[in-house]
């Protein structure tokens, strides 16, 4: 075998020779090499564990910061809700309890009327006159039986009594009728009184319900102030829900903006030219985009001035007079831009028709490819969309605010999760390095198994008791008998 082959590892023998040489070299370097491997594994293990610990500390700080921000946002949101609830209660109290004197007066009137009717219904019929007693006494006088005078007198008395009885009955009946009429008149008053009392009860019940809602919000607010875990969970969950809902609505709004863009991009070429570019973008497209962005900005300012959103504290803290001026200015600009868009949408339709006519002419066709009498419908629809979409985009401010506020929480939670995950991965890698070091040491021994085996044999031989050279060999049977 040529000597060069031993170096180029081109034959199995060369491989074997190189392996033996390597094994011998590794055997002699075993102790320092294994110490180096162990040191490296330990260094990596501790470095990675340290990094993981640092990440966990950073995650704790981030989580604490997130919690602070979340609580602050939650406190502010709850304050706004409670403030709004109190405004509602104030309005309800003003509206409902403001009517209380009127209601009280009407109930008092009804009560007086009922009392009067009751008094009238208590009037008894007139009692029989006192002379009836005298007549009764006369009628009981003992007289001879066949005295005609007495008979006539008694008959006259009887007739008078009958007349008096009829009169008394008539009076009694008319008095009873009058009482019944009074009682009958009391019924609507009773009903009215019940109705008024029902109204009072309803208003009081609504107020009680409203106060219960306030109580609930106050309880939540107290939890937020105390920074309890329940409050944190509640606010985090709420932020996530808000984030995804706002994201969905923003996606819809982006769709609306894209439609709006296509409505005005083509006619915009009539204003700024169809073949001018800034970088890779057409100037007409940029102009259309700028108009839409300006509309969205105006919408944001309008919502801010109306105090529906609170993205710009400067606008919210303006004096009311300036705020109202700002509302009118932004609304005016928005309306102007909407009118411009409607005009551009109309222009788009005209351009489209013109292009179709030119194309038809170039193809050698006579007249328009389609002479549709209903084209005005699409024109009107485009104009309507051009006018309405800017106002619709105004409301983007509301989900945008929710999105911005929720984004902080969501990104914070995601970052904290990522840090924790990274720390876990580093810890895992650290442990892996440690075990990898041990594994490499074992592998090292596997590679040099032959020298190790030889060493073991040599040591075993050296450690075995040296047998006497002239000692007689004891047969096994004798050994057994001796033992």
């Amino acid at each position: 075998m040529p000597a060069d082959d031993l170096y180029v590892l081109s034959s199995p023998l060369a491989w074997v020779l190189w392996f033996i040489a390597l094994a011998v070299a590794m055997y002699f370097a075993r102790s320092p090499a294994q110490r180096a491997i162990l040191s490296l594994a330990h260094a990596l293990h501790y470095a990675l564990r340290l990094a993981a610990r640092s990440l966990l500390l950073a995650e704790e700080r981030l989580r604490a910061r997130n919690r602070e921000v979340l609580m602050a946002a939650g406190r502010e949101a709850k304050e706004r809700i409670i403030e709004r609830e109190f405004e509602r209660i104030d309005a309800a109290v003003r509206r409902d309890l403001g009517e209380c004197p009127t209601l009280q007066r009407r109930i008092a009137e009804q009560a007086t009327r009922l009392e009067e009717d009751h008094e009238h219904s208590r009037e008894v019929p007139p009692a029989p006159t006192s002379w009836v007693q005298a007549v009764k006494a006369v009628a009981e006088i003992q007289v001879p039986q066949h005295d005609p005078m007495v008979g006539k007198i008694l008959e006259a008395v009887h007739a008078s009594m009958l007349k008096a009885q009829d009169q008394a009955r008539t009076d009694f009946r008319s008095a009873t009728r009058v009482r019944h009429e009074h009682l009958k008149r009391m019924m609507p008053s009773w009903r009215r009184a019940l109705q008024l009392l029902g109204q009072v009860e309803g208003k009081v019940t609504r107020l009680i319900e409203r106060t219960q809602i306030v109580d609930r919000h106050i309880a939540d607010y107290e939890e937020v102030l105390q920074k309890t875990d329940r409050a944190e969970r509640m606010l985090t969950s709420s932020s996530f829900v808000q984030f995804f809902v706002a994201l969905l609505v923003l996606c819809i709004a982006v769709g609306g903006a894209v439609i709006n863009f296509h409505l005005i991009a083509r006619p915009m070429a009539e204003m700024v030219g169809g073949n001018n570019f800034i970088g890779a973008w057409r100037v007409a497209d940029i102009a259309a985009l700028v108009i839409i962005l300006v509309e969205i900005s105006m919408g944001l300012f309008l919502m801010e001035s109306l105090r529906i959103t609170r993205l710009f504290p400067v606008i919210g803290s303006l004096p009311d007079k300036w705020r109202v001026i700002m509302i009118w200015i932004t609304l005016g600009l928005l309306t102007s831009l909407a009118a411009v868009e409607a005009g551009l949408a109309y222009m788009r339709e005209i351009l489209l028709q013109d292009e179709l006519a030119t194309s038809a002419l170039l193809r050698g066709e006579r007249g328009l490819p389609f002479d549709n009498q209903f084209v005005w419908i699409t024109t009107a629809a485009q104009m309507g969309m051009g006018f309405i979409l800017p106002f619709a985009l105004t409301f983007v401010a509301i989900p945008l605010e929710s999105f911005v506020h929720a984004l902080r929480t969501v990104v914070g939670a995601a970052l904290a999760g990522a840090l924790r995950g990274l720390a876990a991965a580093l810890r895992f890698a650290g442990s892996g390095c440690r075990y990898l070091g041990r594994f490499l040491i074992d592998l090292y021994d596997v590679v040099i198994f032959l020298p190790l085996w030889v060493e073991q044999q040599v040591k075993a031989r050296a450690a075995a008791p040296r047998a006497l050279p002239d000692a007689p060999k004891v047969p096994p049977r004798v050994k057994e008998s001796l033992s």
């Binding site: 083509r266 070429a269 169809g274 001018n276 800034i278 970088g279 013109d354 194309s359 002419l361 170039l362």
Partner: protein, 216 residues
């Protein structure tokens, strides 16, 4: 504030450079050479359809010229119609209609030329397109590519066609080509060599049903 000043200046400089610096021209320049020699005038109806197809494809801001190829084509007089379309789409549409009318009038009254000076027409096209300096320069040659120069005309001039795209359209076969097709192939190869050695690109389109491919 002092620390921020260079950053602010750099940002402003970048913004100004971005706004004021002229962007590379993105318009298209198309120059169509129409062979009006001999029997090729019979093909002018197809040329008319081709021009209409091109008119339908060009955009506002593009330049388009149609020139005839006759005895001496290196002349402004041979340009039948030329226009740079307005930036506004509505005006560009009106210009397209007028352009079409001009071409229609030319095709109706065209008289066959005695000689065919294609090289002169190409030189004129190069001059015109270089003057317009569009983003894309395309020369369309509607001809059988058989050059027939009058005595005394010098046309063995190398073209300078860097950035030009040359498309030969409807390259019809002559009677002699039918006898010996190598002549046709040699003719095409000669023109390809001439264009490509000048730095231009070369294409041949004989299928007029696919006019949409002409302008890429």
């Amino acid at each position: 504030m002092i620390r921020w000043r260079p950053v602010v200046f750099a940002t402003l400089a970048l913004a100004l450079a971005g706004c004021s610096g002229e962007a590379a021209p993105t318009s298209r320049g198309v120059y169509l050479l129409m062979d009006t020699s001999g029997t090729y005038t019979q093909e002018l109806d197809k040329a008319q359809a081709l021009i209409n197809a091109i008119l339908a494809r060009v955009d506002p801001g593009d330049s388009f010229a149609v020139a005839r190829v006759d005895t001496g084509s290196f002349s402004e007089k041979d340009i039948v119609a030329r226009i740079t379309f307005d930036e506004r789409p509505s005006t560009a549409n009106q210009q397209k209609r007028k352009f079409r009318d001009t071409i229609d009038g030319f095709v109706r009254n065209v008289k066959p030329a005695s000689f065919t000076d294609i090289s002169g027409g190409v030189l004129q096209a190069i001059e015109y397109l270089n003057e317009k300096n569009p983003g894309r320069k395309t020369i369309l040659i509607f001809s059988d590519l058989e050059e027939d120069l009058q005595e005394g005309y010098v046309r063995d001039i190398p073209f300078s066609m860097d950035g030009f795209e040359v498309v030969a359209i409807n390259v019809t076969k002559l009677r002699a080509d039918n006898v010996d097709p190598r002549k046709y192939m040699t003719r095409l190869e000669d023109w390809q060599h001439k264009v490509e050695s000048g730095g231009g690109s070369w294409r041949v389109i004989n299928d007029l049903d696919r006019l949409d491919r002409i302008l890429g």
